[in-house]
Amino acid sequence: MALSDYLPFLPASDSGYVTPEGESVFGIMAEFETTPQAYKACEHVRDAGYTKWDLHTPFPIHGIEDAMGMKSTILPRIAAIGAFAGVGIALVGQYWITAIDFPFVVQGKDYWAWQPLVPITFELGVLLCAFTSLFGMLALNGLPRWHHPLFKKDRFLDVSDDRFVICIEATDKNFDPAKTKALLEEAGGKHIDLVEA
């Protein structure tokens, strides 16, 4: 994720490679037809030491995190912060209103009784946790981002149907157009193609 991905007027980081037509290269993509092929190809790319690459699949593949050497996301921790923030806001808000700003005896209960505050505290915790998990997920994924070099490739549009595409980015330190292409071929990739930035 770079700032220039979102602000197109900023200069994008250049990989230094150009296509035969003279365009800057974003990466190399290769297609796979079945889940096991894609899974094995991922292990192959992972073992070759690449880090800036991705597998695009129509559905989440079970256990692909290991095959790609991915670290687990911090998202649940962010969601927990959201939940506790909701609980805190609800408690502070309710106590401030019912016990400090306008103390008022209702049903003979103590101003500082915590029991009546439980339902709203719970609901607000859930609400903020839901917001942080959805928007946190989008933020960590760098979405919304309505444009991407891969979208320019006609064949990439089949990913949402039944294709599996590995794309190795040109900014990866191990990237070399010929060697990376050879690696993807060895892994069983078809329709290997340069992706223009």
């Binding site: 889940t35 695009h56 699949t57 593949i61 079970h62 209103i97 009546p116 959805l134 994924n141 089949d158």
Partner: protein, 512 residues
């Protein structure tokens, strides 16, 4: 065979054609999903579909014109929705006196409808959250439509408390907004808890539904985009403009799918977010109807003042919600081509079992209420329950008992669980019965207060009736629009539970 997991063995049998839809292999079954052989896991998608076929079939529902049934149904339901709008306008401009409410029975159809609709809304979150945590893979075929139904039901539900206050322009008092009168809402009132519970529930359900749809909207976007790139011409959006329908689709679905590009790194966080949402929605869905029941249980009215209300309301909500899912999906699977491959007889049977379970729980609660009324030794409580069963509203009580307790008992018999007409009949009975349950709880407790001088009756006016019928129109209109324009199934999730999605599957040697 023994070295294979059930998933792998089913994959082999599908590959060899031993299992397919339409009961091939065992002609006594309505479809192959009902296979009870324990060595075989029944397929979740029938007819040996490939990923591409699944994409084509489900995208087709949103891309092609629906059958001839859609437009007439839409016109009828949207007219009813319009009637509801007119009734609300009449109510707001005239006052709540246009309803049959009176001094004694000051909650009747309005709150009955509210509890009825919010209860229906529970099935969607139950399917998407609780069944997700229990790893019930069959949920993938019904969760999207059930979640949609949830949101539409909550919209209908939210309407009634809003309009029943009479002065709708003062409804903002329920929110803790600072104002010069120093009026704060009463945080010790269950009615205010209800405001927070229902609005949280609506918001979280909407987020859950939308998040699930992002990849499927991206699929519809990619398909429209592909047609735009490959075909020079295509159907127009409107006869007078050069704008193509696919251009509109690509922009609309493209905007909503937020640029989803099916990246595995994104999928990883997406699945984590889904799990977190499922984890917090599970207590949420249980809390919402509990809090709705507090509206009654924390009062001192005989018939309302019981501790059994929260679990009893939650079981009833799940019960009514699943009946509504069946009422919507059984016609849909007949009307849409190939939908039976996804919503199989196994789904219908599983939901019938849930109806049996929750119906029996509700029946137990009805019995327990009576037992405690007698055993508790409170004469007012006992009177309230005798009055329910034998008083002037006896017909409502016995409609409730026969629809909610007796009709689901049919599902002890396997043949009835697997029979579409019987399931449809019971689902209709349960939906009716659950409406009557709320009517019985609310009206029979109110119409006989402590002083006989206050006793009264409630009779609905045409405005009451038309508002309720109209709310059904709103619900159906929204659901028809959903069927027409949005991905009706969670396509990505459906593909993920197909045998071909196994990364160590049968079509490659080795693996691990």
């Amino acid at each position: 065979m023994s070295s294979l997991t059930p998933d792998q063995s089913i994959a082999e049998q599908i590959a060899s054609g031993a299992i397919a839809g339409g009961g091939v292999g065992d002609s006594s079954l309505a479809d192959a999903s009902l296979n009870d052989d324990p060595s075989v896991r029944p397929p979740l998608v029938l007819n040996n579909r490939s990923f591409h076929e699944v994409t084509e079939i489900i995208s087709g529902y949103a891309e092609n014109r629906p059958g001839k049934w859609w437009l007439p149904l839409f016109l009828i339901s949207s007219s009813l929705a319009g009637v509801c709008g007119l009734m609300i306008l009449y109510l707001v401009t005239t006052g709540v006196g246009v309803w049959g409410l009176n001094n004694q029975v000051d909650w009747a159809w309005d709150i009955t409808n509210f509890v009825f609709w919010i209860g229906i809304g529970h099935a969607g979150t139950l399917i998407s959250a609780i069944l997700c945590l229990f790893k019930q893979k069959w949920r993938t075929a019904v969760n999207r439509s059930a979640e949609a139904m949830t949101i539409f039901a909550v919209i209908c539900a939210g309407m009634f408390p809003g309009i029943h206050v009479g002065r709708i322009w003062a409804i903002w008092y329920v929110f803790p907004i600072p104002n010069y009168n120093y009026i704060w809402p009463n945080f010790r009132s269950p009615l205010l808890w209800d405001v927070f519970a229902v609005s949280t529930y609506a918001t979280v359900s909407l987020l859950f539904w939308y998040m699930g749809m992002i990849p499927d909207l991206a699929m519809l976007r990619d398909r429209a985009d592909k047609r735009l790139r490959l075909n020079a011409d295509g159907p127009r959006f409107c006869p007078f403009f050069r704008l193509r329908a696919d251009t509109v689709r690509a922009y609309a679905y493209g905007f909503l799918s937020l640029g989803w590009r099916f990246s595995s790194r994104h999928w990883h966080r997406y699945e984590k977010a889904y799990l977190v949402l499922a984890g917090i929605s599970t207590p949420l869905v249980l809390s919402v109807h509990s809090i709705v029941s507090f509206d009654f249980a924390t009062s001192i009215l005989p018939g309302w003042h019981t501790t059994i209300f929260p679990p009893y309301f939650v079981a009833g909500a799940v019960f009514g919600g699943f009946a509504m899912v069946l009422l919507l999906l059984i016609p849909a699977r007949e009307l849409f081509p190939n939908m039976k491959d996804f919503v199989t007889m196994r789904h219908v049977e599983n939901m019938a079992k849930i109806l049996l379970l929750t119906g029996s729980m509700v029946g137990f609660a009805y019995t327990m209420e009576f037992f405690i009324a007698w055993y508790g030794g409170n004469e007012f409580e006992l009177y309230a329950f005798k009055n329910r069963a034998l008083g002037p509203y006896w017909w409502a009580y016995w409609t409730m008992i026969s629809c909610n307790v007796l009709s689901p008992q049919l599902f002890w018999v396997k043949k009835f669980r697997q029979s579409i007409p019987v399931v449809l009949f019971v689902a209709m009975a349960v939906t009716t019965g659950m409406w009557f349950e709320r009517f019985v709880i609310i009206v029979t407790s109110l119409h006989r207060a402590f002083l006989p001088g206050e006793w009264g009756m409630f009779f609905p006016t045409p405005v009451d009736i038309l508002t309720f019928v109209g709310s059904c129109g709103i619900f159906l209109t929204l659901f028809l629009l959903f069927l027409r324009f949005l991905p009706v199934f969670a396509v990505a999730e459906l593909k993920a539970v197909m045998p071909q999605a196994d990364p160590h599957g049968h079509d490659e040697q080795g693996g691990d």
